[in-house]
Amino acid sequence: MTLRNSFAGRRRLRVNTRFFAIYRERAGLKEEDLNLDEGATSAVLVERLSELHPGLFEGGGRLVVAVNGEYVPMDHALADGDEVALIPPVSGGRS
């Protein structure tokens, strides 16, 4: 708590990010812990990840974020300890 407050009153939150399918291959990681400013949304996390891993989201398509096992909109505010999953866009046939 003391540590947090030392950042000029700006609290931080820590989330566990999980990668799947093409994101796992591109990031070369299955998961990654990230520190974000309090109030950070899914969109902020996505922005942060595209800085950390250039090309991670290349090729377009829809990206969906799930927090603690539930799909959330991009303006969803993250909380400390959240497990955030990046759900790659999908395309192609049907079976």
Binding site: F20, G60, A66, G69, P73, A85, V90, G92
Partner: protein, 146 residues
């Protein structure tokens, strides 16, 4: 029985799980790896899943089917990892007293799984080139393009 598994799917196990005395109809769906999707001839398929969430979502879908169709017996599994041609990637077995409900609930569950459960698949062709394509598409409340 609802699970994401790395083991081969044995249909008999799932049929047995829903073959209760009170059931007169069992409907089973198996999704299998097929050789062509579009122009690409497949060598094999690789499946990835967000296991914890996938199992949770599948359990919710099954619960909804149980409410809708008067509590059918249901057994569901989706396999992950490398699958060869003709191997089942997913199985849905449903047992009900009468056949109409078994068909309807089985169809409902596989359709919902394909729409909502975080599972992806990578088609690998004869040259070893792989591409992540269709999996189970989550329903997006707020799609974002990148």
């Amino acid at each position: 029985m609802i699970k994401i598994t790395e083991q081969p799917i044995d249909a008999a196990e799932f049929i047995a799980a829903v073959n209760k005395k009170q059931n007169g109809g069992l409907a089973v769906f198996l999704g299998t790896v097929r050789d062509f999707t579009g122009p690409t001839r497949l060598a094999y398929m690789e499946y990835d899943a967000y296991k914890e969430m996938a199992e949770k979502k599948m359990a919710l879908i099954v619960d909804e089917a149980r409410l809708r169709w008067d509590n059918p017996d249901v057994a569901v599994a989706h396999r992950v990892g490398r699958l060869e041609l003709t191997e089942p990637s997913v199985i849905i077995a449903v047992g009900t007293p009468h056949r109409a409900q078994a068909f309807e609930a089985c169809r409902y569950i596989i359709d919902r799984i394909k729409e909502e459960v975080p599972i992806w698949k990578k088609e690998v062709d004869e040259h070893g080139h792989g591409e992540w394509v269709e999996g189970c598409v989550p329903s997006v409340r707020e799609p974002v393009s990148h």
